[in-house]
Amino acid sequence: MTADAADAPPLLAARGLTKRYGTVTVLDGVSVDVRGGEVHALLGANGAGKSTLCKILSGLTPASAGSATLGGAAYAPASKREAEAAGVEIVQQELNLIGTLSVAENLLFARLPNRLGALRVGRLHAEARGILDRFGLPGVDPRAPVSSLGVGRQQMVEIAAALARDCRVLILDEPTAALSDTEAGQLFGHLRDLRDRGVAVVYISHRLDEVKELADRVTVLRDGRHVVTRDTAGLSTDDMVALMSGEERDGGPSAFRSHRREGDGAKDVALRVRGLCRGPVRDVSLEVRRGERLGVTGLVGAGRTELLRAIFGADRATAGAVEVGGVPRGRFRHPRAAVAAGLAMVTEDRKSDGLLLAQPVSVNVTLCSLWAKFCQFGLLRGAAERRATAGLIADLDVRCHGPDQLAGQLSGGNQQKVAVGKWLVRGADVLLFDEPTRGIDVAARRRIYRLLDALAADGKACVIVSSDLEELFETCDAIAVLCDGRLTGTFRRGEWTREKILQASFDSGPDGRRSCSAASHAAASHAAASHAAASHAAASHAAPAAATSDAAPADRRV
């Protein structure tokens, strides 16, 4: 933070902002000062009111009470348009792209280049191209419909659109939830530039280390109330957690650590995937044993989601085979078959294919297990449903006004908890998680980690896709790395380092392979070594979790 910013008058000042929905107060007299040229982080548990606050400041929803000033002048935007006119931009927590429009049209939506209303297509695509290149999406075609991009890329498109508009205040609501460290790193670069140009950046994230890295000051909200605003300097992540939860921090190690160590638990294979191909995913083989958790990482667009979808039968795999609990299942043709075989999948985009936003929480919680658990002669067992919902709300600490609240009215993180929870209610032998903790706060995340632990403890197998390496380090027994749809390395607990994984994330294609197998440089040879070890281990069925990429020989031939 630049020195003069410290004593500069606030650029954006909120006074006693309050938001009520019917009788419930979700934001209660919150006052915050945001200075020009600072990155100001908003912290708070799921449902604390962060997004609501941002929505008010960006004119997306009116405040029930309270006021705000922008650059000294009174500021009460009645619409997004007014906010933008005043120089306030926001990237919302939930994707807000228009699927049927092209990437370019989405990037420049509110200001499509035109002459007398007629689109200037050439300029549109040129400008879009520029923005995409500038913000790390060189691979994306501005003409493609945005719905054909993976969620991560969609998120990046949305961020790029905001960064491309010049503004005085930029609000980002959990922008990195679906981004891997690499993309996040790029984003931070851009945010720092903006800060140095005097823009006020309001930043929401549940990844505390990145907050610590980026933010100048943090404001903590709890249950819709303002707790404290402080300089980040001299504030440890544990302090933040304590402030958010309101409990005095217990001296113990805050970061979750799996209590299970490799070696314990049963040994027979729960899920085996052989040479699976589908769209961007090419020839992936891996296996997970009962009681183990295999992490899957890679850059945005690496094909992680596609891989899980192919395994689960959401997309028809074009080649390869899946084996569950030792029973060969070929390729699943429909998720129902996969579920019947004991699989479960928490999808990446809760909004589009995870939840019924227009239905109550209870309906979502029991969605995948009605016939199995909540049905008697075809009738709904309402009591059982209420019990299960209440139980889940307690277990995952879902902040809602009760089981009848529409899922769409929950905060992002709480929605995510429900999306995960519906499968916990159903239960399965092998659980596939795609970004399971996307948008979930630290405390709740720990609950989920413990749940994963418990699952592993009673012999379930988990495949966890996450962009948050730290998360995989904490929870997994092994981590597989995808790059361009290929497995480029698998590392066991203790074996992995950020470098190795980063290396593997970029290591791809024939040349990548060559460098890998030819052991041209240290990191690569590391990866190669572990890779070889892994494949060997797989062959001998000794390793706790192993993956092999049979692609290598094929590629060498090329």
Binding site: P335, R336, M345, S352, A358, L367
Partner: protein, 318 residues
Amino acid sequence: MTAPHLSRSLIQYGGLSAALLAMVAAFSLGSENFFQTSTLISIANQIPELTFLAVGMTFVLIVRGIDLSVGSLLALSAATLGVLMARHGWPLPAALAAAAAVGALCGVANGALSVGFGIPSFIVTLGMLEVARGVTKKLTDSQSVYLGGPVEAFGEPLGALRVSPAFLTAALTVAIGQFVLTRTVFGRYCTAVGTNEEAVRMSGVRPAPYFVAAFALSGVMCSLAGFAQTSRLSTVDPNGAVGIELSAIAACVIGGTSLMGGRGSVVGSFLGVLVIQVMQTGLAQMGVSDADKQIVTGLVIVAAVLFDALRVRLGPRS
């Protein structure tokens, strides 16, 4: 955003019922003969046809489909009934079963074609509308089949209440329909499929069966409606019920069912039917010109829904 379903639909019924009462009041003032049991009875005896159709349509709309073929299916199953009884001397129950089977079959065809080939149900049922009508005409040589006695019982008002078995059946159907929609796994999944088919699929549940079932249900309802009409007219009219699909859909939408799927209630649709039927009878009794009748009709439809809208802002327009 929409308020929680239960409370919303409650308020909704409140709104519609109020609108309905307002209409009754208006008509009672408009013509001194309106507010008489005789009138109410005659309304009650006309209702069954549209009610059956609306119940089926509600399920179809809820799974995010639409069924334009109800009018033709009504005629087709009625024709089946008529031909089997008049020409082949089948007993009523057997003929009735056959008619129901025909309805169900066509319904399944509607649903299966749509979901199987990903053709919009609008198109499939539009096709069925034409085909079924054509078959009906072939069956009957475009002649109305007079049945008389045997079929009339179902439509004849009886008992102290002077209501027909048809009406009681219809009322029962509404009750059961509402129960199925809100209290059974089937109903729940129908709603889910209409809300977000992909999410249902990703939850390991096949949407297709529910989609097809909804159309099959609609088909059976058409047969019932066909029987109700036949017994009311003591005749099978191969040209009957043309364009009734619009009334059926209107009843549902007036009753708060969304054309965009996932939201609706059978009771609401029934109230919708009442609104339509009361207005029709009321206007027929009042001394106004044809043109004025249509104008009033239009205004009332909008007013009835506006009445709700002002209470609870419904979710997405549809």
